[in-house]
Protein backbone atom coordinates (compact mmCIF):
# COMPACT_ATOMS: atom_id res chain seq x y z
CA UNK A 1 0.00 0.00 0.00
CA UNK A 2 2.68 2.46 1.08
CA UNK A 3 4.81 1.47 -1.92
CA UNK A 4 1.92 2.37 -4.24
CA UNK A 5 1.29 5.66 -2.48
CA UNK A 6 4.95 6.67 -2.31
CA UNK A 7 5.25 8.09 -5.86
CA UNK A 8 2.13 10.18 -5.27
CA UNK A 9 3.46 11.43 -1.96
CA UNK A 10 6.78 12.34 -3.58
CA UNK A 11 4.91 14.10 -6.38
CA UNK A 12 2.89 16.11 -3.88
CA UNK A 13 6.13 16.94 -2.06
CA UNK A 14 7.65 18.30 -5.28
CA UNK A 15 4.47 20.24 -6.02
CA UNK A 16 4.32 21.76 -2.54
CA UNK A 17 7.98 22.71 -2.72
CA UNK A 18 7.38 24.60 -5.97
CA UNK A 19 4.28 26.30 -4.58
CA UNK A 20 6.12 27.21 -1.37
CA UNK A 21 9.11 28.81 -3.02
CA UNK A 22 6.81 30.42 -5.58
CA UNK A 23 4.80 32.18 -2.89
CA UNK A 24 7.88 33.08 -0.87
CA UNK A 25 9.60 34.65 -3.85
CA UNK A 26 6.36 36.38 -4.86
CA UNK A 27 6.74 38.68 -1.87
CA UNK A 28 10.34 39.44 -2.75
CA UNK A 29 9.44 40.03 -6.40
CA UNK A 30 6.64 42.43 -5.55
CA UNK A 31 7.67 44.14 -2.32
CA UNK A 32 11.29 44.39 -1.47
CA UNK A 33 14.36 42.85 -3.12
CA UNK A 34 13.80 42.54 -6.86
CA UNK A 35 10.58 44.37 -7.56
CA UNK A 36 9.11 43.54 -10.95
CA UNK A 37 6.46 45.84 -12.38
CA UNK A 38 4.78 46.77 -15.62
CA UNK A 39 4.76 50.12 -17.37
CA UNK A 40 2.10 51.11 -19.87
CA UNK A 41 2.67 53.94 -22.31
CA UNK A 42 1.27 56.22 -23.52
CA UNK A 43 -1.15 57.11 -20.75
CA UNK A 44 -0.70 60.83 -21.38
CA UNK A 45 0.67 62.84 -24.29
CA UNK A 46 1.21 66.36 -23.15
CA UNK A 47 -1.78 67.10 -20.91
CA UNK A 48 -4.33 64.93 -22.70
CA UNK A 49 -5.13 61.25 -22.26
CA UNK A 50 -3.60 59.23 -25.05
CA UNK A 51 -5.43 57.06 -27.52
CA UNK A 52 -4.87 53.45 -26.53
CA UNK A 53 -5.89 50.00 -27.64
CA UNK A 54 -8.58 48.35 -25.60
CA UNK A 55 -7.83 45.26 -23.57
CA UNK A 56 -9.14 42.86 -26.18
CA UNK A 57 -7.12 44.37 -29.05
CA UNK A 58 -3.98 44.01 -26.99
CA UNK A 59 -4.61 40.37 -26.11
CA UNK A 60 -2.36 38.50 -23.71
CA UNK A 61 -3.30 38.61 -20.02
CA UNK A 62 -5.41 41.73 -20.59
CA UNK A 63 -7.90 39.76 -22.65
CA UNK A 64 -8.99 37.96 -19.49
CA UNK A 65 -10.65 41.15 -18.24
CA UNK A 66 -14.32 41.25 -19.30
CA UNK A 67 -14.87 44.27 -21.52
CA UNK A 68 -17.55 45.67 -19.20
CA UNK A 69 -14.97 45.78 -16.38
CA UNK A 70 -12.32 47.47 -18.49
CA UNK A 71 -11.25 50.82 -17.06
CA UNK A 72 -8.24 51.54 -19.22
CA UNK A 73 -4.56 51.27 -18.44
CA UNK A 74 -2.90 52.58 -15.32
CA UNK A 75 0.58 54.03 -15.80
CA UNK A 76 1.85 50.70 -14.55
CA UNK A 77 2.59 48.85 -11.37
CA UNK A 78 0.08 46.08 -11.94
CA UNK A 79 2.37 43.49 -10.41
CA UNK A 80 3.25 45.33 -7.22
CA UNK A 81 1.55 45.69 -3.90
CA UNK A 82 1.18 49.46 -4.15
CA UNK A 83 -1.78 51.02 -5.87
CA UNK A 84 -2.02 50.73 -9.62
CA UNK A 85 -0.05 53.47 -11.26
CA UNK A 86 2.63 53.56 -8.55
CA UNK A 87 5.49 51.43 -7.33
CA UNK A 88 5.94 50.91 -3.61
CA UNK A 89 9.11 49.17 -2.47
CA UNK A 90 9.71 48.36 1.20
CA UNK A 91 13.32 47.46 1.92
CA UNK A 92 12.23 46.57 5.45
CA UNK A 93 10.52 43.49 4.01
CA UNK A 94 13.69 41.99 2.60
CA UNK A 95 14.35 38.33 3.30
CA UNK A 96 16.78 37.32 6.02
CA UNK A 97 19.45 36.19 3.55
CA UNK A 98 19.32 39.49 1.69
CA UNK A 99 19.56 41.44 4.94
CA UNK A 100 22.63 39.40 5.86
CA UNK A 101 24.60 39.76 2.66
CA UNK A 102 23.65 43.00 0.86
CA UNK A 103 20.56 44.80 2.17
CA UNK A 104 21.37 48.06 0.37
CA UNK A 105 21.73 46.57 -3.12
CA UNK A 106 18.31 46.65 -4.82
CA UNK A 107 16.94 45.66 -8.20
CA UNK A 108 13.95 47.19 -9.98
CA UNK A 109 12.82 45.43 -13.10
CA UNK A 110 10.26 45.72 -15.83
CA UNK A 111 9.93 43.17 -18.60
CA UNK A 112 6.68 44.79 -19.66
CA UNK A 113 7.34 48.35 -20.79
CA UNK A 114 4.39 48.01 -23.12
CA UNK A 115 3.15 50.25 -25.90
CA UNK A 116 -0.61 50.23 -25.36
CA UNK A 117 -1.08 53.05 -27.87
CA UNK A 118 -2.15 52.93 -31.47
CA UNK A 119 1.12 54.10 -33.05
CA UNK A 120 4.76 52.97 -32.79
CA UNK A 121 7.07 54.84 -30.41
CA UNK A 122 10.79 55.07 -30.00
CA UNK A 123 11.17 55.84 -26.30
CA UNK A 124 13.61 57.48 -23.92
CA UNK A 125 13.62 56.62 -20.19
CA UNK A 126 14.45 58.79 -17.20
CA UNK A 127 14.82 57.17 -13.78
CA UNK A 128 14.83 59.53 -10.79
CA UNK A 129 15.94 57.75 -7.61
CA UNK A 130 16.68 60.76 -5.42
CA UNK A 131 20.26 61.17 -6.57
CA UNK A 132 21.10 57.45 -6.58
CA UNK A 133 22.67 56.53 -9.90
CA UNK A 134 21.43 53.08 -10.96
CA UNK A 135 23.13 50.63 -13.32
CA UNK A 136 20.92 50.01 -16.39
CA UNK A 137 20.70 46.57 -17.94
CA UNK A 138 18.46 45.20 -20.67
CA UNK A 139 18.05 41.96 -22.66
CA UNK A 140 17.30 44.13 -25.70
CA UNK A 141 19.89 44.78 -28.36
CA UNK A 142 18.14 47.92 -29.68
CA UNK A 143 19.23 50.19 -26.81
CA UNK A 144 21.51 53.21 -26.64
CA UNK A 145 22.96 53.32 -23.09
CA UNK A 146 24.35 56.82 -23.61
CA UNK A 147 20.96 58.44 -24.20
CA UNK A 148 18.81 55.83 -22.40
CA UNK A 149 16.75 55.50 -25.58
CA UNK A 150 15.56 52.62 -27.68
CA UNK A 151 17.03 52.43 -31.15
CA UNK A 152 13.97 50.68 -32.56
CA UNK A 153 10.33 51.58 -32.69
CA UNK A 154 8.14 49.70 -30.25
CA UNK A 155 4.98 48.77 -32.13
CA UNK A 156 1.52 48.82 -30.52
CA UNK A 157 1.24 45.84 -28.20
CA UNK A 158 5.01 45.19 -28.11
CA UNK A 159 7.16 45.33 -24.99
CA UNK A 160 10.62 46.48 -23.99
CA UNK A 161 12.51 45.46 -20.84
CA UNK A 162 14.86 47.13 -18.39
CA UNK A 163 16.53 46.34 -15.08
CA UNK A 164 17.94 48.90 -12.66
CA UNK A 165 20.47 47.92 -9.98
CA UNK A 166 21.41 50.44 -7.29
CA UNK A 167 23.04 50.80 -3.88
CA UNK A 168 21.17 52.88 -1.32
CA UNK A 169 23.57 54.80 0.96
CA UNK A 170 23.31 53.73 4.63
CA UNK A 171 22.01 57.05 5.94
CA UNK A 172 19.26 57.07 3.31
CA UNK A 173 18.48 53.35 3.80
CA UNK A 174 17.68 53.88 7.47
CA UNK A 175 15.02 56.53 6.87
CA UNK A 176 11.29 55.60 7.03
CA UNK A 177 10.89 57.12 3.56
CA UNK A 178 14.01 56.26 1.61
CA UNK A 179 13.10 57.92 -1.67
CA UNK A 180 10.17 59.36 -3.58
CA UNK A 181 11.28 59.08 -7.17
CA UNK A 182 9.77 58.23 -10.52
CA UNK A 183 10.25 56.61 -13.88
CA UNK A 184 9.27 58.75 -16.83
CA UNK A 185 8.85 57.55 -20.40
CA UNK A 186 9.35 60.03 -23.25
CA UNK A 187 8.80 59.96 -26.96
CA UNK A 188 12.44 59.93 -28.07
CA UNK A 189 11.69 61.95 -31.22
CA UNK A 190 9.16 64.54 -30.03
CA UNK A 191 10.31 64.77 -26.41
CA UNK A 192 6.73 64.48 -25.11
CA UNK A 193 6.18 62.70 -21.83
CA UNK A 194 4.23 59.48 -22.47
CA UNK A 195 3.75 58.38 -18.88
CA UNK A 196 5.09 58.84 -15.36
CA UNK A 197 5.26 56.14 -12.74
CA UNK A 198 5.93 57.22 -9.14
CA UNK A 199 8.43 55.02 -7.31
CA UNK A 200 8.30 55.25 -3.53
CA UNK A 201 10.90 53.37 -1.48
CA UNK A 202 10.20 52.98 2.23
CA UNK A 203 11.88 51.14 5.10
CA UNK A 204 9.28 49.76 7.51
CA UNK A 205 12.06 48.67 9.89
CA UNK A 206 13.51 52.17 10.27
CA UNK A 207 12.94 53.81 13.64
Amino acid sequence: MFKKLLPWLLGILGLLFAVGIGLWSKNLFTQSESVHFSVNFPTVTGDVAAQTMNCCDLGGPWARIPEKDWKGYPAGGVLVWGTEGAILLDVGQEGMLKRLIQPNFINLSTHWLRNVGVQPYQIRLEMDLCGIEPEWETFESAWDPATHSTTREINPGEVFNMDWYFHIPDEQFNQPVVCEGQLEVFDAHQGDSLTQLPIVIINSRAQ
Binding site: G11, V19, I21, G60, L97, R152, Y165
Partner: protein, 300 residues
Protein backbone atom coordinates in the same frame (compact mmCIF):
# COMPACT_ATOMS: atom_id res chain seq x y z
CA UNK B 1 31.65 5.15 -6.78
CA UNK B 2 34.88 3.39 -7.69
CA UNK B 3 37.44 5.86 -9.04
CA UNK B 4 39.23 2.89 -10.65
CA UNK B 5 36.49 2.94 -13.31
CA UNK B 6 37.05 6.64 -13.98
CA UNK B 7 39.78 5.69 -16.48
CA UNK B 8 37.29 3.56 -18.38
CA UNK B 9 34.75 6.37 -18.37
CA UNK B 10 37.21 9.10 -19.30
CA UNK B 11 36.80 8.90 -23.11
CA UNK B 12 33.00 9.23 -22.78
CA UNK B 13 33.36 12.06 -20.27
CA UNK B 14 35.76 13.91 -22.58
CA UNK B 15 33.42 13.38 -25.52
CA UNK B 16 30.44 14.68 -23.57
CA UNK B 17 32.51 17.55 -22.18
CA UNK B 18 33.19 18.59 -25.76
CA UNK B 19 29.46 18.61 -26.42
CA UNK B 20 28.79 20.65 -23.27
CA UNK B 21 31.31 23.22 -24.50
CA UNK B 22 29.43 23.18 -27.78
CA UNK B 23 26.25 23.83 -25.76
CA UNK B 24 27.90 26.89 -24.20
CA UNK B 25 28.97 28.18 -27.60
CA UNK B 26 25.50 27.53 -29.05
CA UNK B 27 23.33 28.92 -26.24
CA UNK B 28 25.25 31.02 -23.73
CA UNK B 29 26.58 34.57 -23.98
CA UNK B 30 29.02 35.88 -25.00
CA UNK B 31 28.84 33.36 -27.90
CA UNK B 32 25.24 32.08 -28.16
CA UNK B 33 25.71 31.31 -31.85
CA UNK B 34 22.58 29.18 -32.27
CA UNK B 35 20.56 31.67 -30.23
CA UNK B 36 21.75 34.52 -32.46
CA UNK B 37 20.72 32.55 -35.51
CA UNK B 38 17.27 31.77 -34.07
CA UNK B 39 16.74 35.40 -33.03
CA UNK B 40 17.74 36.60 -36.48
CA UNK B 41 15.45 34.11 -38.22
CA UNK B 42 12.50 34.96 -35.97
CA UNK B 43 13.26 38.71 -36.00
CA UNK B 44 13.41 39.09 -32.20
CA UNK B 45 15.40 42.21 -31.17
CA UNK B 46 16.98 40.66 -28.10
CA UNK B 47 20.51 40.24 -26.81
CA UNK B 48 21.60 36.64 -27.23
CA UNK B 49 22.11 34.79 -23.98
CA UNK B 50 20.52 31.84 -22.25
CA UNK B 51 17.38 33.84 -21.43
CA UNK B 52 16.58 34.49 -25.08
CA UNK B 53 15.65 30.83 -25.58
CA UNK B 54 14.09 30.31 -22.15
CA UNK B 55 13.53 26.64 -21.29
CA UNK B 56 11.32 27.34 -18.26
CA UNK B 57 8.76 30.07 -18.92
CA UNK B 58 7.16 28.38 -21.93
CA UNK B 59 6.59 25.27 -19.80
CA UNK B 60 4.78 27.45 -17.24
CA UNK B 61 2.76 28.94 -20.10
CA UNK B 62 1.53 25.51 -21.16
CA UNK B 63 -1.07 25.92 -18.40
CA UNK B 64 -1.95 29.44 -19.61
CA UNK B 65 -3.72 29.26 -22.99
CA UNK B 66 -3.74 33.07 -23.30
CA UNK B 67 0.08 32.91 -23.62
CA UNK B 68 0.03 30.55 -26.60
CA UNK B 69 -0.17 33.49 -29.02
CA UNK B 70 3.02 34.91 -27.46
CA UNK B 71 4.81 31.62 -28.09
CA UNK B 72 3.83 31.61 -31.74
CA UNK B 73 4.69 35.32 -32.15
CA UNK B 74 8.17 34.58 -30.79
CA UNK B 75 8.84 31.03 -31.97
CA UNK B 76 12.12 30.77 -29.99
CA UNK B 77 9.85 29.94 -27.05
CA UNK B 78 8.77 26.80 -28.89
CA UNK B 79 12.23 25.29 -28.42
CA UNK B 80 11.34 24.35 -24.82
CA UNK B 81 7.87 22.98 -25.44
CA UNK B 82 8.15 21.61 -28.96
CA UNK B 83 11.64 21.17 -30.42
CA UNK B 84 13.40 19.54 -27.47
CA UNK B 85 10.45 17.32 -26.47
CA UNK B 86 10.09 16.12 -30.08
CA UNK B 87 13.80 15.24 -30.20
CA UNK B 88 13.34 13.45 -26.86
CA UNK B 89 10.32 11.61 -28.24
CA UNK B 90 12.46 9.94 -30.91
CA UNK B 91 15.99 9.92 -29.47
CA UNK B 92 15.63 10.57 -25.74
CA UNK B 93 16.68 13.69 -23.79
CA UNK B 94 20.02 14.04 -25.57
CA UNK B 95 19.98 17.76 -24.79
CA UNK B 96 20.15 17.00 -21.04
CA UNK B 97 22.88 14.40 -21.26
CA UNK B 98 25.03 15.90 -23.98
CA UNK B 99 24.42 19.64 -24.44
CA UNK B 100 22.96 21.36 -21.36
CA UNK B 101 25.83 23.38 -19.82
CA UNK B 102 23.88 24.01 -16.57
CA UNK B 103 23.62 20.26 -15.94
CA UNK B 104 27.07 19.48 -17.31
CA UNK B 105 28.72 22.14 -15.14
CA UNK B 106 27.62 20.60 -11.85
CA UNK B 107 28.11 17.03 -13.10
CA UNK B 108 31.72 17.63 -14.09
CA UNK B 109 32.64 19.78 -11.09
CA UNK B 110 31.14 17.13 -8.78
CA UNK B 111 33.83 14.71 -10.00
CA UNK B 112 36.42 16.90 -8.28
CA UNK B 113 34.78 16.28 -4.89
CA UNK B 114 35.75 13.05 -3.12
CA UNK B 115 32.73 10.67 -3.09
CA UNK B 116 32.87 10.35 0.70
CA UNK B 117 31.75 13.98 0.99
CA UNK B 118 28.79 13.49 -1.35
CA UNK B 119 25.16 12.56 -0.76
CA UNK B 120 24.51 9.20 -2.38
CA UNK B 121 20.87 8.80 -3.38
CA UNK B 122 21.36 5.74 -5.58
CA UNK B 123 18.59 3.25 -4.91
CA UNK B 124 17.19 5.37 -2.07
CA UNK B 125 14.79 7.68 -3.83
CA UNK B 126 12.91 7.77 -7.11
CA UNK B 127 13.37 11.35 -8.40
CA UNK B 128 10.74 11.13 -11.13
CA UNK B 129 7.57 11.94 -9.13
CA UNK B 130 9.31 14.83 -7.37
CA UNK B 131 10.41 16.32 -10.69
CA UNK B 132 6.93 16.04 -12.20
CA UNK B 133 5.43 17.43 -9.00
CA UNK B 134 7.80 20.39 -9.15
CA UNK B 135 6.90 21.03 -12.79
CA UNK B 136 3.17 21.04 -12.06
CA UNK B 137 3.73 23.14 -8.93
CA UNK B 138 5.67 25.69 -10.99
CA UNK B 139 2.80 25.85 -13.48
CA UNK B 140 0.16 26.04 -10.76
CA UNK B 141 1.67 28.63 -8.44
CA UNK B 142 1.57 31.18 -11.27
CA UNK B 143 -2.24 31.17 -10.95
CA UNK B 144 -1.97 32.56 -7.43
CA UNK B 145 0.62 35.14 -8.34
CA UNK B 146 3.67 33.12 -7.28
CA UNK B 147 6.83 32.57 -9.28
CA UNK B 148 8.92 29.42 -9.07
CA UNK B 149 10.01 29.77 -12.68
CA UNK B 150 12.39 32.74 -12.68
CA UNK B 151 13.20 32.73 -8.96
CA UNK B 152 14.56 29.18 -9.10
CA UNK B 153 16.34 29.32 -12.44
CA UNK B 154 19.62 27.41 -12.58
CA UNK B 155 20.18 28.47 -16.18
CA UNK B 156 20.55 32.07 -14.95
CA UNK B 157 23.18 30.98 -12.44
CA UNK B 158 25.08 29.06 -15.12
CA UNK B 159 24.96 32.12 -17.40
CA UNK B 160 26.15 34.36 -14.55
CA UNK B 161 29.14 32.07 -13.90
CA UNK B 162 30.03 32.02 -17.60
CA UNK B 163 29.61 35.82 -17.77
CA UNK B 164 31.99 36.12 -14.82
CA UNK B 165 34.59 34.02 -16.67
CA UNK B 166 34.42 36.61 -19.44
CA UNK B 167 34.61 39.63 -17.15
CA UNK B 168 30.92 40.54 -16.63
CA UNK B 169 30.51 40.30 -12.86
CA UNK B 170 27.06 41.91 -12.43
CA UNK B 171 25.25 38.57 -12.10
CA UNK B 172 27.53 37.58 -9.23
CA UNK B 173 27.33 40.97 -7.54
CA UNK B 174 23.57 41.22 -7.07
CA UNK B 175 21.83 38.53 -5.01
CA UNK B 176 18.16 38.25 -4.07
CA UNK B 177 17.28 35.82 -1.25
CA UNK B 178 15.70 33.32 -3.64
CA UNK B 179 18.78 33.48 -5.87
CA UNK B 180 21.01 32.64 -2.90
CA UNK B 181 18.83 29.64 -2.01
CA UNK B 182 18.56 28.36 -5.58
CA UNK B 183 22.30 28.82 -6.20
CA UNK B 184 23.24 26.93 -3.03
CA UNK B 185 20.81 24.15 -3.92
CA UNK B 186 21.82 23.90 -7.59
CA UNK B 187 25.56 24.33 -7.31
CA UNK B 188 26.45 22.91 -3.93
CA UNK B 189 23.80 20.72 -2.28
CA UNK B 190 22.38 19.02 -5.39
CA UNK B 191 25.46 19.64 -7.53
CA UNK B 192 28.97 19.32 -6.18
CA UNK B 193 27.90 17.50 -3.05
CA UNK B 194 25.52 15.02 -4.64
CA UNK B 195 26.95 11.91 -6.26
CA UNK B 196 26.72 12.30 -10.03
CA UNK B 197 26.26 16.08 -9.72
CA UNK B 198 22.82 15.98 -11.32
CA UNK B 199 20.57 16.41 -8.29
CA UNK B 200 18.98 19.60 -9.60
CA UNK B 201 18.31 18.00 -12.99
CA UNK B 202 16.85 14.91 -11.32
CA UNK B 203 14.52 16.68 -8.89
CA UNK B 204 13.90 20.27 -9.93
CA UNK B 205 14.31 20.76 -13.68
CA UNK B 206 10.96 21.24 -15.46
CA UNK B 207 12.61 21.13 -18.89
CA UNK B 208 14.13 17.78 -17.99
CA UNK B 209 10.74 16.59 -16.74
CA UNK B 210 9.04 17.48 -20.02
CA UNK B 211 11.76 15.78 -22.07
CA UNK B 212 11.69 12.77 -19.74
CA UNK B 213 7.96 12.47 -20.28
CA UNK B 214 8.41 12.72 -24.06
CA UNK B 215 11.12 10.05 -23.92
CA UNK B 216 8.91 7.72 -21.91
CA UNK B 217 6.01 8.35 -24.32
CA UNK B 218 8.28 7.66 -27.29
CA UNK B 219 9.34 4.35 -25.78
CA UNK B 220 5.74 3.50 -24.98
CA UNK B 221 4.70 4.32 -28.56
CA UNK B 222 7.64 2.31 -29.89
CA UNK B 223 9.13 5.29 -31.72
CA UNK B 224 12.05 6.15 -29.43
CA UNK B 225 15.58 4.84 -29.12
CA UNK B 226 16.33 4.21 -25.47
CA UNK B 227 18.84 2.66 -23.10
CA UNK B 228 17.98 -0.92 -22.34
CA UNK B 229 19.43 -3.80 -20.38
CA UNK B 230 19.69 -7.24 -21.94
CA UNK B 231 18.57 -9.36 -19.02
CA UNK B 232 20.04 -12.53 -20.47
CA UNK B 233 23.51 -10.96 -20.34
CA UNK B 234 23.09 -8.87 -17.14
CA UNK B 235 24.71 -10.31 -14.01
CA UNK B 236 22.95 -7.75 -11.81
CA UNK B 237 26.20 -6.41 -10.38
CA UNK B 238 24.62 -2.96 -9.97
CA UNK B 239 27.57 -0.99 -11.37
CA UNK B 240 25.28 0.73 -13.88
CA UNK B 241 23.02 2.00 -11.08
CA UNK B 242 26.05 3.14 -9.06
CA UNK B 243 27.43 5.23 -11.91
CA UNK B 244 24.12 6.57 -13.27
CA UNK B 245 24.12 10.32 -12.51
CA UNK B 246 20.37 10.63 -13.02
CA UNK B 247 19.24 7.83 -10.66
CA UNK B 248 17.54 6.29 -13.68
CA UNK B 249 18.70 2.74 -12.98
CA UNK B 250 17.21 0.94 -10.03
CA UNK B 251 18.31 -2.47 -8.84
CA UNK B 252 15.03 -4.22 -8.34
CA UNK B 253 15.48 -7.62 -6.69
CA UNK B 254 17.31 -9.80 -9.16
CA UNK B 255 17.32 -7.36 -12.03
CA UNK B 256 18.17 -3.78 -12.89
CA UNK B 257 15.77 -1.50 -14.73
CA UNK B 258 16.22 1.72 -16.68
CA UNK B 259 13.59 4.34 -15.95
CA UNK B 260 12.85 6.11 -19.24
CA UNK B 261 11.39 9.08 -17.34
CA UNK B 262 14.77 9.85 -15.79
CA UNK B 263 17.45 8.57 -18.20
CA UNK B 264 19.36 11.31 -20.06
CA UNK B 265 21.25 8.97 -22.44
CA UNK B 266 24.69 9.85 -21.02
CA UNK B 267 25.75 6.23 -21.66
CA UNK B 268 28.01 5.95 -18.59
CA UNK B 269 26.07 2.79 -17.66
CA UNK B 270 26.89 1.15 -20.98
CA UNK B 271 30.58 1.83 -20.49
CA UNK B 272 30.88 0.51 -16.92
CA UNK B 273 28.81 -2.61 -17.60
CA UNK B 274 31.25 -5.56 -17.33
CA UNK B 275 28.98 -7.92 -19.27
CA UNK B 276 28.10 -5.53 -22.12
CA UNK B 277 24.42 -5.98 -21.39
CA UNK B 278 23.44 -2.34 -21.95
CA UNK B 279 22.69 -0.73 -25.28
CA UNK B 280 21.06 2.40 -26.69
CA UNK B 281 18.97 0.99 -29.43
CA UNK B 282 15.99 1.05 -31.67
CA UNK B 283 12.28 1.24 -30.78
CA UNK B 284 10.79 -1.53 -28.77
CA UNK B 285 7.64 -1.61 -26.64
CA UNK B 286 7.66 -0.90 -22.93
CA UNK B 287 5.51 -3.22 -20.93
CA UNK B 288 4.26 -2.51 -17.49
CA UNK B 289 3.48 -3.29 -14.73
CA UNK B 290 4.08 -6.95 -15.54
CA UNK B 291 7.66 -8.22 -15.29
CA UNK B 292 9.63 -7.04 -18.26
CA UNK B 293 11.01 -9.39 -20.86
CA UNK B 294 14.72 -9.21 -21.57
CA UNK B 295 16.02 -5.95 -22.89
CA UNK B 296 13.21 -3.57 -22.05
CA UNK B 297 13.35 -0.58 -19.72
CA UNK B 298 10.91 0.22 -16.96
CA UNK B 299 9.54 3.56 -16.04
CA UNK B 300 5.82 3.63 -16.61
Amino acid sequence: MYPRLYRKLLPNWLKRFGFFLLGVVMLYAPFALLTRLLLAITNVPSNADVHSVCLRMPIQWLAQPWMYATMFEKPVYLVAVLVLPVIALFLGPLFCGWLCPAGGMTEYLSRLVPPRFQINMTGKVNPVPIRYGFMFGMMGVAFIGGNACCSFCNFTHAQNLINALFGNMLGLQYWASFAVVSFILWFFVLGLFTRGGRGWCNFLCPAGALMGFAHWAGAKLKVSRYVKIDRSACNNCGLCATYCPTLAIQKNGERSEVNAHACNICMDCKIVCPSRAISYSAPQALQSPAPLPAGEPAGD
